[in-house]
């Protein structure tokens, strides 16, 4: 789990497993709390991770989620195997959603997920190949001086 360059932990998210959806983000929040990270930074990380986790559960087959923590930043990478996103620009707009009724019954699918990840991240990169999957790179700086 620990490396010379900080802490790394890998999790697997199963698509369609609505019962467990959110449990990895909850775990990551616990890890960051144990380390003693600032609560605002934990909250931003937890929200971004939760949104990413829900997206995998709702849309993808499975995904690898990696938490990487260095003295400078928290990085969350989510690489999924799934349908991918045809139009990222559109998916980044608040309110755009392709959610099903089941997703909405879970309280999700309002088209706020990706914009909310971007809002909570200091750096956010997304790339997608339709038919293959989507990759998210979320970075939150630990030193917030001069940052958002």
């Amino acid at each position: 789990m620990s490396t010379e360059n900080g802490l790394s932990k890998r999790f697997e998210i199963t698509g369609g497993d609505f019962g467990k959806a959110g449990s990895i983000s909850t775990k990551i929040k616990e890890i960051l709390q144990e380390i003693g990270i600032n609560s605002t930074i934990i909250r931003r990380t937890a929200i971004a991770t939760y949104e990413a986790e829900m997206n995998v559960v709702m849309y993808a087959k499975k995904a690898d989620l990696t938490l990487h923590l260095t003295p400078a930043e928290i990085s969350i990478r989510v690489y999924d195997e799934g349908p991918g996103i045809e139009n990222i620009e559109m998916a980044m707009q608040e309110g755009f959603s392709t959610a099903t009724d089941e997703m909405r019954e879970m309280g999700f699918g309002a088209g706020l997920g990706l914009p909310n990840i971007k809002k909570n991240a200091d750096r956010f990169e997304i790339s997608s190949t339709p038919g293959k999957g989507t990759a998210l790179d979320i970075t939150i700086y630990l030193n917030q001086e001069g940052k958002k």
């Binding site: 939760y50 999700f108 309002a110 706020l112």
Partner: protein, 120 residues
Amino acid sequence: MTLKEIKKLLQAEVIYGIDRLEEEIQWAGGSDLMSDVLAFGKPGILLLTGLTNAQSVRTANIIDAKAIVYVRGKKPDKEGIKLAREKEIPIFSTKYMMYTACGLLFSHGLPGVSKIQNNK
């Protein structure tokens, strides 16, 4: 407003957190849509919701909500109650519907999260 006052105003049943009634709540927000709660919720809020699955508690935990009130006599599922205990998030159930529950709290001086945003 304390959780005790909230319990009284909403004639609510305490599902978990009977020993936490003296705690103060400064803001509240009501939604069944967890996407909205994640996007607009603030730390320390009281969350009013009609969504009873475990996601309601997971979301409350993620945004650092202080307590949850389930409206219209609803109660969270077993998984939700278990998580609330683990995360020590007090949970209540009121027979009032969402609009009335929110209205009662607001009219007795508990502001909404939008007030925090406006005061920024």
